[in-house]
């Protein structure tokens, strides 16, 4: 392993920062280094951010890494990485840092005016425990909480098209193939229709339809989206 690591580190250091050769060598090195046993772990909710910073630092600083006398390269490397990671984790626990954790017993008021502690309102699952399984539930909750149901407004806007701006944006060959119809079929309906099927239905070439959709409708919809968002 030491030999392999040595070779990969030398390869990285051979090339300047930002060159494709260095980037490829870093890829190979990271794939192995990330799997090395002994990389420090921590239960803090921001540990993964600290780890992320550490990998970025490793990529920048690997040129400065030196093997500890009397130690193997692998051990030295893990210690070197942990040396940096340890400080990033320490940062997380420093009060006043952006990562500082609030005391769980700190009393806070909830909407109903009764006193509860931070601990009471902590979600059942910490973010590390968010799993794909729980994601649907979590998203349904945050959407309910959120008032930003802008997409719904846009759907309504497309359906209504009060100013007829979408219906006016039509192909030259067939006015029925307009932005409103395409937006309904391609965006609002699930599963969305295929452009080729719509083309057949209205006797228009799919190429024409595709380029109308891409060049006229999408920019228009984007513009409208932005306007509604600003409203």
């Amino acid at each position: 392993m030491d030999e392999q690591l040595q070779k990969l580190i030398e390869e990285v250091c051979l090339y300047e920062e930002g060159t494709p050769e260095r980037q490829k060598a870093l890829n190979k090195l990271l794939m192995i280094v990330q799997q090395l046993p002994g990389i420090k772990k921590d239960g803090h909710q921001d540990y993964l951010e600290a780890l992320n910073k550490t990998w970025e630092w490793v990529c920048r600083s690997i040129d400065k890494f030196k093997v500890n006398p009397g130690d193997s390269l692998q051990n030295s490397l893990v210690k070197w990485i942990n040396g940096y990671l340890k400080w990033r984790i320490k940062d997380l626990y420093v009060p006043d840092s952006k990562y500082s954790t609030l005391s769980l017993d700190r009393p806070i008021s909830n909407d109903e005016g009764s006193k509860v502690t931070q601990l009471d309102i902590l979600p059942d699952s910490q973010f590390q425990d968010i799993t794909l399984d729980l994601l649907d539930k979590k998203i349904a909750e945050i959407q309910k909480r959120s008032r930003h149901t802008w997409g719904e407004r846009i759907s309504r806007f497309i359906e209504k098209d009060q100013s007829r701006v979408l219906r006016h944006c039509c192909t030259r060959v067939n006015p029925e193939c307009n932005c409103q119809l395409l937006a309904k079929r391609l965006l609002l309906v699930k599963p969305s229709h295929k452009i080729a099927d719509i083309a057949r239905e209205f006797n228009v070439s799919s190429q024409t339809l595709y380029s109308h959709w891409k060049k006229k409708c999408l920019p228009l919809l984007r513009e409208i989206g932005v306007i509604l968002r600003i409203d």
Partner: protein
């Protein structure tokens, strides 16, 4: 280390990633759309981080996936790389063995990065990359086993960064490796004068430059650029043999791809061809790439008019 074990880069998904994903998902109408946006955001976030490690410049805020009005309507997970283009970062769920691309992302992408999510959404694995041109014809599904290594991603990014700017040629600024045809064809049996003379009569305002390219054998790519009265440029590409050989290697292929990676034109050397050529026109600021392929070797040059 067991070398048969598939090894992938891991990117941690910190709380910042989940906060962003939550913010974007909250804007959506349905849990299904919210989940799609959540996972897309995580995938883009992870690739953005990974590219930062490698010191590749990224621009999240120029990405469609970071633009409310676009992500709400489209299933997009793009990441903009300035002066390179967009890469699409597709989330692959633990039980999936292919990427399914919605039609809105099959255009305007330089390629696709597959990002494997785990049941615990704490780390992702970057599985690999497919350049857009590799999936032409079957753009909807990319099986995991068709993915190429991240080296291909790195090459694609760097090639796009070093694209040859043909407009600058008009001002006499030429990119490295592009020399006057006389120089590049100095070793050719035909004198360079014969090669370029046939064009000079009709097209006096054209600019020709040539580059020696190694596709296993040395060949010379000659690019002739002719400005027209409008914003259109006529382009003629010719390939000649170098190294004092008379004929081009048989089966040498010359292909032109448009910006989205669609093959527009193609020609192939047959037995005893002295040269092959393709002619086409390009708008101002249009990008295209030229691919030369011989056997296993494939060389691409990127251009912008």
């Amino acid at each position: 280390m067991n070398s048969t074990q598939p090894n992938h880069l891991q990117v941690p998904l910190g709380r910042d990633a989940h906060q962003k994903a939550e913010e974007f998902a909250a804007e959506q109408d349905t849990p299904e759309k919210g989940k799609q946006v959540y996972l897309n955001t995580l995938a883009v976030y992870a690739v953005d981080n990974y590219l930062k490690w490698l010191n590749v410049e990224t621009a999240l805020h120029q990405s469609d996936s970071w633009n409310w009005s676009i992500r709400t309507f489209f299933d997009v997970a793009d990441l903009m790389l300035p002066s390179v283009g967009r890469i699409e970062c597709r989330a692959v769920l633990p039980w999936e063995d292919a990427l399914v691309l919605p039609q809105e992302v099959t255009r305007e992408r330089i390629g696709y990065v597959a990002v494997r999510l785990k049941e615990q959404l704490d780390f992702v694995e970057i599985l690999g990359f497919v350049p857009a041109r590799a999936i032409i014809g079957q753009p909807e599904i990319i099986e995991i086993n068709r993915l190429q290594s991240l080296d291909v991603l790195i090459d694609t990014i760097n090639r796009r960064k070093t694209l040859v700017n043909l407009c600058q040629w008009l001002e006499g600024v030429f990119d490295r490796g592009w020399q006057s045809p006389e120089l590049a064809l100095a070793g050719n049996f035909r004198s360079a004068a014969t090669i370029t003379r046939q064009d000079t009569e009709s097209q006096t305002n054209s600019i020709s430059r040539a580059k020696v390219i190694n596709v296993g054998r040395q060949i010379v790519l000659l690019m002739e650029l002719t400005p027209t009265n409008s914003a259109v440029f006529d382009i003629r590409l010719r390939v000649y043999p170098a190294e004092n050989t008379v004929h081009l290697p048989q089966d040498l292929q010359l292909t032109i791809f448009d910006e989205s990676g669609n093959a527009c034109m193609k020609t192939q050397a047959e037995t005893a061809n002295d040269w092959i050529q393709l002619e086409f026109s390009c708008q101002h600021e249009e990008k295209f790439s030229v691919e030369l392929e011989l056997g296993e070797t494939c060389i691409t040059e990127e251009f912008v008019v």
